[in-house]
Symmetry: C2
Subunit: 293 residues, 2 copies
């Protein structure tokens, strides 16, 4: 069993030039590898500006059937660098069905897991329900050479169910590629509280489940028509006690390198044994929606 590993989170500023984004991410993945990272993760939909700011049919042309040209590039990179790579792509399943998808690629360059975002947001400026069919592959653990990991995506992070199910599958470290930011006209009034909520909810997954959590966000202001989002960065890693052990800022690109000692998972779970005491006989209601008021 892997006791220790080192992870790399690549916080990116993303342009409207796919080729630039591709090269920029590869360059930074190489840097992270040089710094010792064995599992590296990029932000959600890192190949393009966050196109869900508007509903525009022409954006479907960004979707890729997997394996795609892009996935092949990253498989080759993972093989060359002998690392685990988690990348986030706009996936075309069939005509008219598209997913927001994470690929986990192993050190031999093989796609070993595909996760399709299960919880899809829809909010002014985040029109994801227009683009993405909710995931149909469920929640997953990936056993890799460098640890048992899981990946979820952005909006999933607000759902304790997603982290719990991924934990129950056996993941001890969950990655959340993310694209989240402030609406400029909300930032002053709600910005601090929004960012804190985002951090709090992910800390809580670490605490409730006794796992490591890693969130990887983009930075920079992206604009489309009247829609403007300031992506808030703040990529971070939380340990199984809920302490932030490493964090980037809200402004700049960056590479976060963080040691992961998986022995902490068992230690924390022995001391705060929440998994022991779950009431699986009493949780059926979680599969229901509320009754009408």
């Amino acid at each position: 069993m892997t006791k220790k590993t080192k992870i790399g989170l690549i916080q990116l500023k993303i342009s409207n030039n796919k080729d630039f984004n591709l090269k920029n991410s590869i360059k930074k993945i190489r840097e992270a590898k040089k710094k010792g990272a064995k599992i590296i993760c990029v932000p959600e939909l890192f190949l393009s500006n966050y196109f869900c700011k508007t509903e525009n049919h022409s954006n479907f042309k960004l979707a890729e059937k997997i394996p795609s040209e892009t996935s092949k590039i990253f498989c080759e990179l993972a093989r060359e660098l002998k690392i685990i790579l988690i990348i986030s792509l706009f996936e075309k399943k069939i005509s008219g069905m598209y997913h927001n998808t994470n690929l986990t690629i192993n050190e031999k360059g093989k796609i070993v897991s595909k996760y399709r975002k299960m919880h899809i947001p829809d909010d002014p400026g985040y029109y994801e329900k227009f683009y993405f069919t909710p995931g149909d592959l469920g929640f997953k653990k990936v056993k890799t050479k460098f640890g048992n990991i899981g990946s979820l995506i952005c909006w999933d992070q607000w759902f304790p169910e997603a982290a719990r199910l991924t934990t129950l599958k056996g993941a001890e470290l969950i990655f959340y590629p993310t694209a989240i930011g402030w609406h400029p006209n909300e930032k002053k009034r709600y910005g601090k509280s929004q960012l804190e909520s985002w951090i709090t909810i992910q800390k809580s997954h670490a605490i409730a489940n006794g796992i490591f959590v890693a969130a990887i966000n983009r930075v920079g202001v992206e604009k489309k028509g009247k829609r403007k989002i300031e992506f808030w960065g703040n990529s971070f890693v939380v340990d199984p006690s809920g302490n932030i052990v490493s964090k980037l800022n809200s402004k700049n690109e960056g590479i976060l390198i963080c040691d992961i000692d998986f022995r902490k998972v068992e230690n924390v779970r022995q001391h705060w044994p929440f998994l022991r005491d779950r009431r699986i006989d009493a949780y059926r209601g979680l599969m229901n929606n509320p009754k009408d008021e």
Copy 2:
């Protein structure tokens, strides 16, 4: 529908004299009422020192069959003050079956809900599995004159499932009577992180569910043989965005009075509509334990 209410949390230092504890809590409940509180809640097992510090059969004599002399006193008090009261008792169900139980008493002095702690801890100094059968009444909402509320108890607060199920039943404000503190020999090294985790996980329930959360703890050092616990107080209220709106300190008794605007629940849920996007088709695994490794 009740749009606004005012709640009172009674943070207590608890002695080994039941009569003193009874009188002290009644006095403070009266004070809270004078300050305008309409729903008032006391800490977990507020009538006695935290007896679960040791496993001692003689403690079972503290348990009460409900309605009990104590419950009648508080029913009368609720009726007199025209308030909702949530009290926490050591309940005897039948010989050999005991529960850690919340009673919700309405303004007419009637017990309108009984909640039996569903998740039971067992940790050095918190030997609750010796005393309490896990709850058999499930998770509940109580519709009261002053709002739709739920109550859970202490260890339940570490389980997102409990808060979610109580929310799905319709509660917009969850009370957590609690008895949690530091082991003196752990405080220096882990104390800050433990307290922060305890706050974080409850904030996360507010965020994930768009509800108010109120935690009511005791203060003071209690000792039994070599077992010593410093109860950490810090009773607090979180709004549906996860912001702490009011908090007591870690040392002193206190009465926390807090305005609750239930309209915030709907507003927050419209802006961060997590309940909309739950994947009830994919949550069956929550009723399972993990597979063997």
